[in-house]
Point group: C2
Chain length 348, copies 2
């Protein structure tokens, strides 16, 4: 029993119909709707074969067939037509570019919003991450009568500011001087490299301002912790409720729970970072509450090792073709915007 052309046509018809209607597809529907030139009885025989091969299944005896995860897999890998973005969709993507987006988190929010409103699935996006472990700049600034501001920037421009309250605030010159020293001491360092020796040398150097030592070390730790925690933006979670697959509230609830625990998503995005495009169908997902979902992710690159990921979650019955084209379009979009983000300041 081989997967001949006709079987593939029928499988394709089943998948298309099921994606559209969310109802099990019967042989007669196919015979009427898709002009394959064969009768429903023949289709029935072929469907029986397709089921035996594991590409489709029956929710219950005497109902139509629905695609199995394996069926979707075949579809995604070989059958699916690459869809071009419609004008409307392109325009929508453009509208994100054209706006004056100057802050990365705002860009992330907007991107997630656009993807979910275009696809009607739940979308998420992680910020571009590269060389975070290494310190690029660490500076001390005057803030007010009781505190100073410590600014830490990592190699990939992830940055965090820390307010440090002091008993005695040094004068401006002294603050800058300490800042300079800190910078010389830590520039290029990974956190793990900061050993006893460096710390005690720093303590001596700080002299009467040695009370700065502990908050500085703590700020470094906090920055590195935060840097390791990938920022994730999500949008359109409510879309889940619109799909008949989740009309069972308890299912929707458990998926929501997973989505609220960002760790799971972060892991997922991290794992998919090495692939340009990744499609996980149903049971291919390792997370239990996502066994009925498909997750599609696409990776955007700023440089070889500075990457982020965008993705969507939806029912396995999803419009793979559309989602993939939207994600691809969006990857190009983000890469363009991110490249311009800082350049723009020059001539904008």
């Amino acid at each position: 029993m081989s997967l001949n052309d006709r079987k593939i046509q029928i499988l394709q018809a089943i998948i298309n119909d099921y994606i559209e209607t969310a109802e099990p597809v019967g042989s007669r529907t196919i015979a009427k709707k898709y002009n394959l030139g064969i009768s429903s009885a023949t289709i029935r025989n072929e469907m029986s074969d397709l089921e035996e091969m594991g590409f489709i299944m029956q929710p219950h005896a005497s109902s139509g067939r629905i695609p199995s995860d394996l069926g979707y897999r075949l579809y995604v890998d070989h059958l699916m037509k690459k869809r071009e973005l419609s004008l409307e969709e392109q325009g929508y993507l453009q509208s994100v570019i054209s706006r004056d987006i100057s802050q990365i988190d705002y860009l992330m929010e907007e991107t997630a919003r656009v993807i979910s409103s275009l696809t009607n699935y739940t979308s998420f996006i992680s910020e571009p991450v590269g060389q975070r472990a290494r310190i690029k700049q660490i500076r001390l600034l005057p803030l007010d009568m009781v505190s100073v501001l410590l600014v830490i920037v990592t190699e990939d421009n992830f940055m965090k500011n820390h307010v440090i309250k002091l008993g005695v605030v040094p004068d401006e010159d002294k603050i800058f001087e300490i800042g300079m020293y800190l910078n010389r001491a830590f520039q290029g360092c990974a956190l793990q490299q900061i050993g006893r020796e460096v710390i005690s040398r720093l303590q001596i150097q700080l002299g009467e301002y040695s009370e700065l030592l502990r908050p500085i070390l703590r700020a470094l730790q906090a920055t590195m912790d935060a840097a390791e925690k990938v920022q994730l933006h999500m949008s359109g979670a409510r879309n889940i409720l619109a799909f008949p697959e989740f009309s069972d509230i308890s299912k929707a609830k458990s998926l929501f729970q997973t989505l609220e625990e960002k760790d799971v998503l972060v892991t997922l995005l991290e794992e998919s970072k090495s692939n340009d495009l990744q499609v996980l169908i149903g049971s291919e997902n390792t997370v239990q509450s996502m066994k009925d979902c498909s997750v599609i992710t696409a990776t955007y690159k700023l440089s070889d090792d500075t990457r982020g990921t965008i993705g969507i979650v939806g029912p396995t019955r999803m419009d793979y073709s559309q989602v993939i084209s939207v994600l691809n379009g969006m990857v190009q979009n983000i890469e363009k915007v991110l490249r311009n983000l800082t350049d723009d300041n020059r001539d904008g």
Copy 2:
């Protein structure tokens, strides 16, 4: 017809029972469960009166009664017992304090999480906002070969960093010098005050680095825009699905939609900022999709004009007493943590 003691007892019984069971309460239930020393027939008569007065209502003829919004209002204003936090709850709140919380957004996230897990409602919290319009510090730092870093801090320590890419990056001394000048020029300024004159003076001062002018002005604008946009953290949205009130998916969907549009919530929190505690019951809410919900908000203060708000959304049938005690406990908690947030660095 007056609201005598017995009527109040009965109303209280109805509300208590309904909060617990989510089922309409009948006269016989009250007679059996609450020993008021009167028969179900008498209770029926009183209930009839209470309905006429608008405190309770029947979902349909020949069903038990449920409290009306007016009934809840009376309950919240006069009948409700102030509940103390249980040991378990107190412990839970403590667990948030005791952790090393050094970043304000992390504190916000954690607080929202704790509130929603204690109450099982959806919680949200806005960051403390005070004198944001006025610039406290504005500094320029070296970043790398092609860009400099502009740090802007407002009076209430809201801060934002901006990467500015340049054709020619000045040397460190020059960068600091320009930074000093910027700081002198803008310190204490509100954005609106920055007029032509200041700008042209700045341009002259920048001299060969006048390409800095536009990105700086843009960064100022962006910072002020972001400062005005109140940061909001939400948690436990999925809890909504657990309540029978929202077993109708379409209702849940429209509420989700509202919650995802943060603007609505921000407005809501802003409006309630002048009250220490605010309870909006059902139809008292102005937002359509929240007409079946109650919103409880509490305001925390760092100083007279630096405030933020925490709140929860749930079905009108909610445990007002518990929520209020949790929110009050949390307000104290936040105020304490925020006051310590920066001090901590001194001795921690």
